[in-house]
């Protein structure tokens, strides 16, 4: 019987059915960070529990780290307490910690793949909803809560109900200037922010076949913004080439055996899906958000929705609420909306290729006067390679601030925050009210190249026009 990758991985990791009907599922790889784990370690201590498989949990620090300060103690005593707490817990329980001193620190969803820890056919959990990122490798990866972190620490398993699988096929060719970020913003706008509830998304089709691993990660990363707890791409030669030679990748004969296993885990031809969605790649435009959730997106050439033209009462009230918060005019073009801040980074778009691609167009240009533009590599390794390639200099010359690795302004648990009702052109993943640190701060989500175009022009812009049409 042909099976999906999801079914194969789920079955291979199933321990048993629990009394309430959920599955006790083995979590092969557990990633932790400083924000959602301390309470879990506290619960472990309270219950007198030991970590079942310390070698299968990996820690790093990302959410609270200042990106403009390396030396400890941090200026924020609460942040300083959190990094010290994680360091202490990792020592106490024997967990590998990619601390800043190791040179391997970064956003947890960038570090896992970079180190070769993220592998096809595995189950991965992390106390962070963007854990879906790791699905790019053909892993089944879930964001979990803190009590579940305790469960995974104590048993290397968790209780979970099986998901349905929706295959999202994007075929054809993306138009010039359209990137992976546009693909996922388009999918979320199309299927809705809760369209994926109860599903894992399997991304497939010619566009995903051609995508690099980093592009696949950008898409899988935002599965949760569409309500899907997990999203994945079937592993292929692109996946194997990325993993070859990474620190935690299998070596020698183990490598060959692993690749054979990884090939076998891909969804079988003729397997059954609970739902299939087809998208024509050519229909996807550079996409930006206009509202207060990632599903409120439109093509850069589009106009801000008018509540008077809404089809339903629900739609009208959601447009009204969003526009009141965003201070945007109904019916006006989104293009030309003045921005205050440009943020390039995050687990969605803080990888080498993101900075490389932007640097190609940024050379010789300047950030518009009065715009605060910050570029934040997703990991120390990304920062290092950017420095070797001179990419950091391109950003600095253009007037961007070039920072140290961390989550930075994606969620503003660190000093990088919007002030007042500043509007930010952001390569991150959430435009929720207050998300970027100011209770009245405003976010427009877009691809890295569009962030660069906004930084240069001082307003939401069509990168194809700013940089010339033949972008790719």
């Amino acid at each position: 019987m042909p099976k999906t990758l999801f079914e194969k991985v789920w079955d291979a990791h199933t321990v048993r059915q629990l009394a309430n009907g959920q599955t006790q599922l083995i979590v092969g790889t557990h990633l932790i960070h400083e924000v959602t784990s301390p309470q879990a370690f506290g619960m472990m201590r309270d219950l007198g529990l030991k970590v079942a498989m310390p070698h299968r949990t990996f820690a790093t620090v990302d959410h609270i780290v200042p990106t403009d300060q390396v030396a400890e103690p941090y200026a924020d005593p609460l942040a300083d307490a959190m990094i010290k707490e994680l360091r202490k817990s990792c020592q106490e329980f024997g967990i590998t910690f990619f601390d800043r001193s190791t040179g391997k620190q970064g956003i947890v969803h960038i570090v896992g793949p970079e180190q070769g820890i993220t592998q096809p056919g595995t189950t991965i959990a992390c106390g962070d909803s963007h854990t879906s990122t790791h699905g790019a490798f053909g892993a089944i990866a879930f964001g979990i809560g803190t009590t579940q972190i305790r469960d995974v620490l104590a048993t290397q398993t968790m209780a979970l109900g099986r998901l349905k699988v929706r295959r999202i096929e994007v075929n054809g060719k993306l138009r010039p200037g359209v990137y992976a970020k546009d693909v996922i913003l388009h999918i979320i706008a199309m299927l809705g922010v809760n369209g994926g509830t109860g599903f894992a998304y399997e991304y497939a089709g010619e566009v995903f076949d051609r995508f690099s691993m980093e592009e696949r990660m950008t898409v899988c990363n935002m599965s949760i913004e569409g309500g899907a707890r997990a999203g994945y791409v079937n592993p292929d030669e692109t996946t194997f080439a990325y993993l070859k030679g990474r620190p935690y990748s299998p070596k020698g004969a183990d490598w060959d055996a692993a690749v054979a296993g990884w090939k076998a885990v891909a969804s079988d031809p003729g397997c059954t899906y609970d739902d299939i969605v087809n998208i024509d790649a050519a229909s996807i435009a550079p996409t930006v958000t206009w509202g207060i959730n990632p599903g409120q997106g439109l093509p850069i050439t589009g106009s801000i929705p008018d509540p008077a033209k809404a089809g339903t009462d629900d739609e009208r009230s959601s447009i009204e609420e969003a526009l009141a918060y965003m201070k945007l005019k109904p019916g006006a073009p989104i293009k030309g909306t003045k921005i205050d801040v440009a943020f390039l980074g995050s687990c969605t778009n803080g990888r080498l290729s993101d900075f490389q691609e932007v640097a190609k167009f940024l050379k010789g240009r300047k950030v518009a006067p009065g715009i605060k533009a910050i570029a934040v590599p997703g990991s120390q390794a990304v920062g290092l390679i950017c420095a070797e390639l001179g990419i950091d200099k391109v950003f600095l010359d253009a007037g961007f601030e070039w920072r140290n690795a961390g989550c930075s302004m994606c969620l503003a648990m660190n000093p990088d925050k919007l002030v007042g009702d500043q509007l930010c052109a952001s390569s991150s993943n959430r435009n929720f009210k207050g998300r970027q640190g100011s209770p009245t701060g405003r976010t427009i989500l877009m691809s890295p190249i569009m962030v660069a175009a906004a930084a240069i022009t001082g307003s939401v812009a069509d990168a194809r026009e700013v940089f010339g049409v033949s972008l790719n």
Partner: protein, 200 residues
């Protein structure tokens, strides 16, 4: 560790209307700089309830008529976004014992169930009926019967539902799965030993 069998949650209710209320709104990230969950109740819906100077905005949770409510009513896709357990923890620490909404985001739903805080879904019309009754008389008792999946209030009753696995876990007092998971840990280790990537 014997857990309470949660078959019924009853109390006064408060309606926080809206769809897609995300966990950043339920508990803003800056209040997550903590190593315990204690004290999170004070920051529930903080930026919705307070101005920058700390003064109160009009919000159902600031309305003295709804003080002490233990049942929260809301719209579609409640708890979307971040997986932060800080969100259900903040609700629970504030005093909320159950949420009735048109729908829930999945991670929030699971996190809440594991804390013994039932999340039940009801139709918009029925939630509006409950909200209207509560608005008319904030002292009305809203009682969620998890066994029979119905909500009673002011002499009326409407259907509600929850996932079978959540209902089973709550009514049978096994909503925190750690005991069961530990029982299966030996078997898990055996299976894991056959998974190549998990070997030490």
């Amino acid at each position: 560790m014997a857990l309470d069998k949660i078959t019924r949650v009853a109390g006064r209710a408060v309606h926080v209307p809206g769809n897609d209320i995300d966990t950043d709104r339920i508990i803003p990230a800056r209040f997550m700089k903590c190593v315990t969950f204690d004290g999170l109740g004070a920051y529930l819906f903080y930026d919705m309830r307070k101005n920058a100077d700390g003064s109160e905005k009009p919000h159902p949770l600031n309305d003295p008529r709804f003080k002490g409510a233990t049942v929260l009513l809301s719209g579609m896709n409640f708890g979307c976004g971040s997986s932060r357990e800080h969100a259900p923890q903040a609700l629970q620490k504030y005093g909320i014992r159950a949420v009735i909404a048109e729908g829930f985001a999945e991670i929030f739903y699971g996190n809440s169930t594991t804390l013994g805080m039932p999340c039940v879904t009801a139709s918009r019309a029925d939630i509006e009926q409950i909200a209207a009754a509560v608005a008319a008389d904030p002292s009305v008792e809203v009682a969620i019967d998890l066994v029979n999946q119905k909500v009673s209030f002011g002499g009326k009753s409407v259907p509600c539902s929850l996932k079978d696995s959540a209902r089973d876990a709550l009514v049978n007092g096994r909503w925190d799965p750690i005991g069961e998971l530990l029982e299966g840990a030996g078997q898990a280790a055996k299976i894991a030993s056959h998974l190549r990537y998990m070997s030490a």
